[in-house]
Amino acid sequence: MAETTYLEAIRQAMLEEMDRDPAVVLIGEDVGVYGGAFKASEGLLARFGWERVIDTPISESAIVGAAIGMSYVGLRPVGEMQFIDFIACCFNQITNFAAKSHYRWGAPVPLVLRGPCGGGVHGGPFHSANPEMYFVHTPGLKVVCPATPRDAKGLLKSAIRDNNPVLFFEHKFLYRRVKEDLPEEDFTVPLGKAAVRREGRDLTIVSYAAMLHVSLDAAAELAKEGIDAEVIDLRTLLPLDRETILASVRKTNKLLVVHEDTRTGGIAGEIAMMVTESAFEDLDGPIRRVTSLDTPVPYAPVLEEYFLPSTAKVVAAARELAHY
């Protein structure tokens, strides 16, 4: 099969799931006739019609609310945020309505809310966010952050088939930059399972989404210096695959976490705590992290570059940790 972009993989996942199951519908702003701001739903209206691909008013709370309602009658709606930054507008529907529904009264909410996140494209403070940790802190949700086309497709399919509200963060920097040969046949990638992307002995780098690629580039640099880094792609942040992280740390004895999300309250803190609780004796050095700054995402390219983690920053942190 021809090389497929991350964006096309997402489109294919929706198309194939809608073909497979008439309960799957798409709802969002400009998702129909226009095919989505990034064209993630291009062709879906033509194929599935007005009832299954629903263009809405600019009302994020109503999009999520309506999707929750549809899920209560047995549908599997996929809601789109035009940019994930706007998820702040429907925070209440997600955290109080969808997330608590099954726990409170046993009513599952099988919905997916997906949209483009992340920086590196000079989107500025309102089109670059990585808001995953607001939701990782919300029991009842699942939070997925794919890094590759194969995962984007397989994880989105799993998310649509899951009985719980899944937030699916698509890194827009990767939309057209990463390509991969995908299998012709139907496949899924399970939620809640991390992947070891590069095996190594000297230290573990845990990352996800766009920073996975930065971490892999860093690992290649480090290899030239004789430092053998293992790189783990979390893929799902909630529920977190603790076992894969712990197994790697028990092998390498050193841990570096790399995320594009801001520093304070990022997943690095949770992972570090989890590792100190469960594998403290296995550590041969302090747990380190490379993250964005604790600021909004700035607009000017030079500022954004300063703000974001980079291969050089990851190499420097990993080198220091390897020599600790």
């Binding site: 006739v33 009302s59 009513a107 599952p108």
Partner: protein, 385 residues
Amino acid sequence: MTREQHLELYYFMRLNRELEEQMVRLFRQNKIVGGVYSSLGQEAISVGTAYALGPGDWIAPMIRNIGALLVRGFKPRDILTQHMARYTSPTLGKDGTSHFGDLKSRHVISPISMLGDLIPVMAGIAMGGRYLGQKIVTMTWIGDGGSSTGVFHEGLNLAAVQKAPLVLILENNQWAYSTPVEKQAALRDLADRAKAYGVKSAIVDGNDVVAVERTTREAVQQARAGNGPVLIEAKTMRMRGHAQHDAAEYVPKRTLEEWRRRDPLDRYERYLSANKLWDAKSKKEIDDHIAREIAADVEFAENSPFPPPELAAEGVYCEGCHTIEADWKRPKEEVMPPRSSVKAEWPMYLYSGNGARPPAKKQATPKAKPGKKPARAPVRAKVGR
């Protein structure tokens, strides 16, 4: 309405009131874990509106709509055990008050405490039901205060553009906790909020159960016929505080006295007598039945255990414990290619005016005169109907 239906309305209103009076007593005995939010004086709205629905329809009650839960078939024991946080409650003690529901048979959505959020959810159920070929109507309630929330407006607007079969009851009891309606909206009639969205509305005396039922029945028919959502403003008065802890001293005594004379149960009793729909004997039969029902359910609730502590850790995710299946009432082929396929282009027609409404008469699309550009007109799409 038949005589039996008239008496059923009385039964639900009286049960609503007596059950809440019992809960107030239990609250004073410290047997209620959280709060009790009285609907005293508003029973005609909860009961009359829910009574106008069919068995396949859906509701999402607010905190003061216990009457609607009773109409949908929940029992006093469900409401008592919820308030008393017992393991036998519909939520097993995980949530309280009217925060429970039933997806399978009674079609009741459990509310959340944040106001307004039920409106887009019920619009979504209405849209989903229509997609599945069901002829359902959904109903929820909102207060005068709740109509100030952003999501009220987002939800009603979405329902309007989607022509969703939603009936929204705006229960104007004039107080949002301690804030009077004049400080919520600079409107004489909150029904006017519907006009902004092209939604039909009605105003009804919320203390007249017959009028409430009739008005709602018409709205439900409208919605079911595919004419879009309807908002009904039911004007009433909150006769107690926000909850039991609130003495509501901010409400003028004279206002309460005036509204006490309009008590919905007293009025309905007079109506039943004037129309010879009952006599003292039939009233006593119903009242005695309610007294026995409540006594039995209070006993059941008081003898019910609290949940096992470890239950706190369970049920965050649905891990195969529920089978999710839609109830299709139309052939699935209709929504699958090739039958679902359309031209991805807005089906548009031109019209004059400010764009708020299509022209009353069907007009042929004006042909552009050569050399003269037609004025740019807004477009209106017909989708998802």
